[in-house]
């Protein structure tokens, strides 16, 4: 049967069809829906891990235990999981293990644009690169068999334009995966230097065998058309090349690593001019040139993503002239109406505190009118950076806070808080606990009180964690984020203390608990003074009527969170009765 599936649905389907037993991942755009879709297959044990390193380690353990296993993450997630990956390359696997890593060219939802193909070369492991959902499913399935045959973890690289693109896929049945007993093999699995030296040799030999596979007939096919132009390409860039220069001969790299250099040399010699078209870094181009093969220069931008039009221009075809209107009023992403973060950011902006921020919906606190985020680097960075800021300056700890979400705190924030306490820092940390991993689409985490399927679970007690790592009980403050006056008071008290403090908010994301949504509010035009203080909250439901010079509330958007009545001094805002 054929179905239109997104790349992420196809990756999940591959796990099902390949007989996978265990999947453990941390959410991250554009990879999140892979694991969400896997969780719908009751045959597969699926979980949200606390971070990508944990997710991969769970997958390694599952492979060791004899079940095919998978872990899925975004590109920056593989940085977190790089530590186990690099040594997993040495141990190899028992049952097949596939890691799916999704890059984000053009950074639609990411903090950097790194190219994960480097990890395949760095870790000396094979990497597939599908060009559509059918290949996403096929290569992932192949990956499990290849993992077992060559005793290696297998990387599958996706990009936003693979994960979030839907194409037609032929569905197949689930197969019984090969049976593996739990493995007890100390020289293979205990990477002390004496064992690891032998395994390093194994890794180098494995790479040679994998290169033979890459040179073979199954993958990396050459399609000869016009001999004037030959293009080496992979992934979605292959589809752009096929449409932009359909007459060109192609060598499509299904395996991004290791590269079939003999095949590439043969292809180069059978065309007049050899080009490389790839998204992001000049990864293939650099490797091919290093072999002494001539690659024609293309004026390709290594920043951002390609398109049919971009590839046409690379090959000297006339660009399509367009006039894009850049003066239109923007629609930036915004914290939702009813968001439990808004009140805290309003309090922070009133106090003019410097904010080391983190990764999550609350990063949007940087937008006007709140403008209350001053740094964003990576998951968990807020707390360590606040500590560094404290140690480097005389008084910044009194004028700054670290802001981190519940999921991000559990991901890589706890260790930084331990560090602050241990090294006698003074910083104040706000844990914005809205009980869910919001930005990636509302996945539960260990602080949610439910698992990936929504089953009730024990909920992590953030205050207890902070106390356990040594934050004094009187410096741990749980606050209602909608009570702005109290939030300002607590912020003043805790930032003034020469000790570590943690402020924890206690209201859920409106998507985590729909029961918090109430009747909408409205503004009495005759009572509104036009002071505009409510519009300074940055709530999408509050608008300004310039002709009447009054504020108004869009009752279709308002969730009845009552934050705006806390700032209105004229009693002009009232809730609709039921």
């Amino acid at each position: 049967m054929k179905k239109v599936l997104s790349g992420n649905e196809a990756f999940a389907r591959a796990a099902y069809e390949a007989g996978v037993g265990v999947v453990s991942s941390y959410p991250g755009t554009p990879s999140t829906e892979i694991t969400e879709n896997v969780s719908h297959y009751k045959e597969i044990y699926t979980e949200w891990a606390t971070n990508e390193k944990v997710g991969l380690e769970v997958a390694i353990g599952a492979s060791l235990g004899g079940k095919r296993a998978m872990s899925c993450m975004k590109h920056v997630g593989l940085n977190v999981a790089a530590d186990p990956l690099m040594t997993l390359s040495y141990t190899g696997v028992n049952a097949g293990l596939v890691v799916i890593v999704a890059d984000d060219p053009n950074m639609y939802s990411s903090q950097n644009e790194q190219d994960s193909r480097h990890f395949a070369r760095f870790g000396k492991v094979p990497m597939f690169e599908p060009c559509d959902s059918q290949e996403a499913k096929q290569f992932t399935k192949d990956g499990f068999a290849l993992s077992e045959e060559y005793c290696t973890p297998v990387l599958v690289r996706s990009t936003t334009r693979i994960s979030h693109v839907q194409t037609i896929v032929e569905l197949e049945d689930r197969v019984e995966a090969p049976k593996f007993a739990p493995e007890n093999n100390i020289p293979k699995w205990v990477m002390i230097p004496a064992n690891a030296r032998k395994r390093h040799r194994f890794v180098e030999n494995r790479l040679e065998l994998l290169t033979e596979l890459a040179e073979g007939e199954k993958y990396n096919k050459i399609a000869m058309r016009d001999k004037k132009i030959g293009v080496v390409c992979s992934g979605v860039a292959y589809t752009y090349v096929r449409e932009a220069v359909p007459e060109a001969s192609t060598l499509k790299l299904d395996l991004a690593w290791p590269l079939p250099m003999k095949k590439i040399a043969k292809f180069a010699s059978s065309v007049d001019k050899l080009y490389v078209v790839e998204e992001l870094d000049k990864f293939y181009e650099t490797e091919i040139k290093a072999q002494g093969i001539k690659v024609e220069p293309l004026n390709r931008d290594v920043c951002g993503e390609l398109s049919v039009d971009a590839v046409r221009e690379l090959f000297g075809l006339p660009p399509v002239e367009t006039d894009v209107d850049t003066t239109l009023p923007f629609r930036p992403p915004n914290m939702c109406p009813g968001c439990s973060h808004r009140g805290v950011f309003y309090a922070i902006s009133r106090l003019k505190l410097f904010v080391t921020g983190d990764i999550g919906c609350y990063t949007l606190g940087l937008l006007p009118p709140l403008q209350a985020i001053n740094t964003t680097v990576c998951m968990g960075a807020s707390i360590g950076m606040a500590h560094g800021l404290d140690k480097a300056t005389d008084d910044m700890s009194k004028k700054s806070v670290a802001v981190i979400g519940d999921s991000t705190f559990l991901h890589t924030g706890i260790n930084s808080l331990v560090n602050t306490v241990y090294n006698q820092g003074h910083s104040t940390v706000i844990i914005l606990d809205n009980t869910i991993t919001g930005m990636t689409g509302h996945q539960p985490n260990a602080g949610s009180g439910k698992d990936i399927h929504g089953n009730p679970m024990q909920k992590i007690d953030f205050a207890a964690i902070c106390k356990a790592v040594g934050v004094k009980e009187e410096n741990i403050r749980v606050i209602d984020p909608f009570d702005i006056a109290n939030a300002m008071e607590v912020l003043k008290e805790e930032t003034s203390k020469p000790e570590p403090s943690v402020i924890i908010t206690n209201k859920p994301c409106i998507f985590a608990d729909r029961s918090v949504i109430e009747e909408p509010y409205f503004i009495h035009e005759d009572k509104c003074s036009g002071c505009r203080v409510c519009t300074k909250l940055g709530c999408p439901a509050i608008a300004w009527d310039a002709s009447k010079r009054v504020a108004l509330i869009d009752e279709n958007l308002c969730t009845g969170c009552h934050l705006c009545i806390k700032v209105c001094k004229f009693g002009a805002i009232e809730q609709r009765s039921k």
Binding site: Y108, Q166, T167, I168, S307, G441, A543
Partner: protein, 189 residues
Amino acid sequence: MKLDILMVGVGGQGTVLSSNIVCDVALAAGYDVKKSEIHGMAQRGGSVVTHIRIGETVASPTIPLKSADIVVSFERMEFLRYSEYISDNTTLILNTQMILPPSVADGAAEYPQSKVDSVKSKFSKVYEVDAISKAIELGNQKIAGMVVLGILAKSVPFGKEEWEQAIKDRVPPKTIDLNLEAFNTGYNF
């Protein structure tokens, strides 16, 4: 046959359901189809765009510049952001619903109505509908997208039965009749 459809709107307007139905119909009619959209950060009230490409074989999942056959704008001004995809032969299906961008909502900028009017005139055909009002008449404003989809269905060469089947497969069972009614309202528009 080559059919490139660009669907644009504001996060939360339900463009995903509509575009999934279009893909199902294309597959049922025996064509190749690819659809590309952006999730994640862009969902939070931001501008959203979906590319749908239908043909004998489709290579790129995104539509080349000046190549859209149909632009479906679920919000009155959103198609303005994607004017680089419009050619002399592009049809516009426009839901006249207004969702104010933040800078317009807080009075710093004006809603670009004059630009809406001038760019609209560049399309070869324009179907304008107040889908929200039609949906409210039918009893639920959430089905506004289905009215828009009905207009799209009338503009493309697939059978009505295939559309109705795809809708039945995609919407919650209890809402099938209401969704079909909304679809037919658009189809007969």
